[in-house]
Every structure is written in structure tokens, then in C-alpha cells.
Subunit: 245 residues, 2 copies
DNA sequence: GTACAACCTCACGTCGCGTGAGGTGCAAGG
DNA sequence: CCTTGCACCTCACGCGACGTGAGGTTGTAC
């Protein structure tokens, strides 16, 4: 009679589990050692160890301890169905994880491209991306990404830098009460439209999404000064452009 | 003075969060409303709402509430570094998730291929795959997978079916005490070697891994009758083959 | 006898809330 | 004035898979 039964420490060492984990499995009834010494020390038999191996196998597949207990409990389950359900769940999680990586990567690229990164810029960048994901379809996002690639970082930066200047000049005219139909404003409105085109690429779906987004998220930081009053002024200037065309 | 401050319910409705979540953020000091009514009802100001948007943005990137609190706490952090660290973590998790999917998919394919799936077969299949992942390098696993693809499911099933028969016949000779150098055994040993070759493809690295695995995991179920005594007999038969070649 | 490792049993902490239980504030209808 | 009903409030436990002590017992060697 060799002492083939193991105590917790030994079993923990051999399986790489912690002693506490084995205690836990005992507590929840997942793996109760079939023997104890007189003083209460746990003794794991060969059968227990085999069961533990099964448990660890199922754990590797991402099943919860409860699911494992259920599966090992009765032997009449459909293995294939169980695995396929688990696989489906895993695939969904994989997709989410992939999306998260893409989000983070996009942010990281943005941050690397724009050198002045105050905490505020950072948060605004993220908020903008969140909004984008909310209001554009994945295809539209891909198209936008493609356009950015094609234009190159420098061109994008130039456009980004032009916006505040354009907004400031437009506001100036509005404050002066200039008629949006006449000249300095006509040129500004034309340029305004061009900058939007540079972003949307003339894609009507993207333009529409941009509109709904700017209507539904009026507090968005990317407006940087495009308040409703100014937007209304710009809208009138645009209308005049169209009318006289 | 418009009542621009929101109560919890309203804010919850607008953000899609639960009331309890907002309470929680208050509890842990992540988002404490800057005002309360006389009766203690929470009043969220525009600034609070802006902060909440920042919180949700960071949450979307997978940061924990504690990390978010820390990030929003002081404004002097390196945004890029934070994001890159998070990205690294996310990539690791993505790799793990991908591996899990592959494991599950492999199991599912196995189960679909072999029609009789008792619970025991199921667990043995998983255990075998776990062992494989432990003892073979990823490249070796890829090569094995490629070989399976090339051979086709049917051929594999035939080989799998032949093993028990071969083992039984070999054991028969051993029980009879047949000299492993003479005929019926020579043929069996030759076939034995062929079946192993069919699996390893003659790759020496894979053969070596197979050896170390069969030595270190003697309790493995895939041995299905290949006990040490039999293995020793087979070893002698192989040696005789080599000697007379 | 005594040191020391290995074992034991509580029991609380983790993370992001869900889910009640039990009470209060406030406006409208009977 | 009283009730109804809704939105709000504050506890406080629960989940999942253990980690991490605290404080006590057992087993073995010197």
C-alpha cells in the first residue's frame, strides 16, 4: 500500500493551482477530496486527481466553475452543443476585444500625430471618436480612415489648423452684422463648404451623418466656437450661395 | 434662470446608465454632483455632465473606474503613454481570446468529425489537446494541423480506428511471449512505426515532443492500453527491426 | 521540549454595479 | 385633509474565483 494519496500542498504544487483554490473547490463542492486524515487534513485520491484534470481542462475552455460542476455532474449532455455555445460566446468577446484594440490604436495614432497633447485635448479626442462611432456606420468609418491615409497627416493638420481661423473670421462678420449675401462672407462660406468637403469627400451618407451628429450633440467640444447663433448665420450664407448660383 | 441641472433619473435616461451606477460613481467619489436640493436629491450641473462624458469615454477604452478617477484627478499625465499601456494590455487579452477561440474551434471540429461522443470521449479529447498545447510549440501545432488538413478527416479516422486493433494484437503476442525479433511481431512493429510516422510526418522535433510527452504524462488517456510493459515490448521489437536492417 | 513547515477554519476584500427593502419629497386628484 | 403614485433617498447583501491575512492545530526533526 503506497501512500498514493496527496495532501493539498503537494497537489497544488503538481497542478500549479493555489492551495486556496483547492480549498475553494472543496467549499463549493466542485472537488471534495474523498478522504481525510484523522486530524482533518485533505487527502486526494487518484480519482480526485483525474477529476481535477477534467476540471482544469474545462476551465481552460473558459467555462465557469458552476458550468463545470454541472457538466461533470451528469454524463448525458451534448458535448458538441455545449462547446459550440461556448465558442459563440468566445467569438463575440473576441470581436469586442478587437474593436477595443482598434479604438485604442486609433487614439494612439491620433496622439502621436498631434504633438501638443494637453489632458483636455486628449479627452476631446476620445469624446470625438466616441461620437464618431455612435453616428457613423463601420463602412463610413473605414472610408473616412482611407481618406485620411490618402490625404496624409500634414494636410489634415493644415485643415484642422484652418478651422479656428475661419470660425473666428466668420464670427467677426456676424458681430459686425454683415449681410451674409455679400462679399467677404460669400468667400468665407465657400471656404467653409470646401473644408467640410475635404472631410466628407462628398459622400452624401457621411455628410448626412455629420449633420445629424452636429444637431444631436450640440455640446460637443469639436464645435470649438460653432455655437447655434453662428451656425444659423453660416446657414443663411450658404443659402445665399446656392440661390445666386 | 432655467433649471439646467438634472436629477439622477433624467441624467440616467440621457446617458443610458442606470441610476444605481450614478449612485455608485457618487459613492466612490468619481462623480459627485455639485449640488443637492434641500431634501438631498442629487443635482448634476453642466460641468458634472461634461465630466461624466469624459468618464464614459475612458470607460469605453476599458479603463477601470479607479484608473479613470486617477486620470481625471490630475491633468499632467502623459496621455500617449497611458493609452499605449492600455493598448498593450488589450492586445494581450486579444491574443488570449483568439487562442481560446482556436482551442474551442479545434474541439468543435474534433467532435463533429468523431460521431460517437460520450462524455468520457469528450473529456479525453480536451485533455489530449491541453497536453498537446503544453508539449508542442505553436509552430509544431500548426504543422500538425496542416498535415491533418492534407490527409483529410477520413484518413485520420481510419488511422485512429486502427490503433486499438494494432495495440490489441501486439499485446496478444506479448502475452504469448513471442520473441519480438520474429515474424508476426516484426510486421506489427513496422506498422506501429508507420502509424507514428503518419502522425509526426517524420518531423524530428515533433517525434521528440511526442516522446517527452508520453514519458512525462504516463497517465494520459490517449495511451488507451499502451501501458509501460507493452511499451517496453514494442521498444524491443523496434530495436530488433533496426538491428536487422 | 522545541522549532518549523504544513495543515486547518473563519472571514473580509476585490470590481462594477444589480436588486431588493424600507423610507421620504412632491404634485395631483378625491 | 388624505391618498395615490412617482421619483428620489439610504442601507446592505449578492455575484465569481479566488487572494490574503489572522489565529490555531498537526506532524516531523532535532
Amino acid at each position: 500500500m503506497q501512500h498514493t494519496e496527496l495532501k493539498v500542498g503537494e497537489l497544488a504544487r503538481r497542478t500549479g493551482l493555489s492551495i486556496r483554490a483547492l480549498h475553494h473547490y472543496d467549499e463549493i463542492g466542485l472537488l471534495e477530496p474523498s478522504a481525510h486524515t484523522a486530524s482533518g487534513h485533505r487527502l486526494y485520491t487518484a480519482a480526485d486527481i483525474a477529476r481535477l484534470h477534467h476540471i482544469l481542462s474545462l476551465k481552460q475552455l473558459g467555462f465557469s466553475l458552476e458550468e463545470i460542476a454541472g457538466t461533470l455532474g451528469r454524463a448525458d449532455f451534448s458535448a458538441l452543443r455545449v462547446v459550440e455555445l461556448r465558442l459563440q460566446r468566445a467569438r463575440e468577446q473576441l470581436a469586442e476585444q478587437r474593436q477595443l484594440c482598434e479604438r485604442l490604436d486609433a487614439i494612439a495614432r491620433q496622439l502621436r500625430a498631434a504633438e501638443p497633447v494637453s489632458a483636455d485635448d486628449f479627452l476631446q479626442t476620445i469624446e470625438a471618436m466616441t461620437m464618431f462611432e455612435k453616428h457613423y456606420t463601420p463602412e463610413q468609418l473605414k472610408e473616412l480612415e482611407a481618406r485620411r491615409q490618402a490625404l496624409g497627416e500634414d494636410a489634415i493638420k493644415e485643415v484642422e489648423a484652418e478651422w479656428p481661423r475661419l470660425i473666428a473670421r466668420m464670427r467677426e462678420e456676424m458681430e459686425k452684422g454683415t449681410d451674409p449675401a455679400i462679399e467677404p462672407v460669400r468667400a468665407l462660406a465657400t471656404r467653409w463648404r470646401e473644408l467640410i468637403r475635404a472631410f466628407t469627400g462628398g459622400n452624401p451618407g457621411i455628410e448626412k451623418s455629420l449633420q445629424t451628429m452636429s444637431q444631436q450633440e450640440p455640446q460637443m467640444a469639436w464645435r470649438q466656437g460653432r455655437d447655434p447663433r453662428l451656425m444659423e448665420y453660416v446657414g443663411r450664407a450658404m443659402a445665399c450661395l446656392d440661390a445666386s448660383k
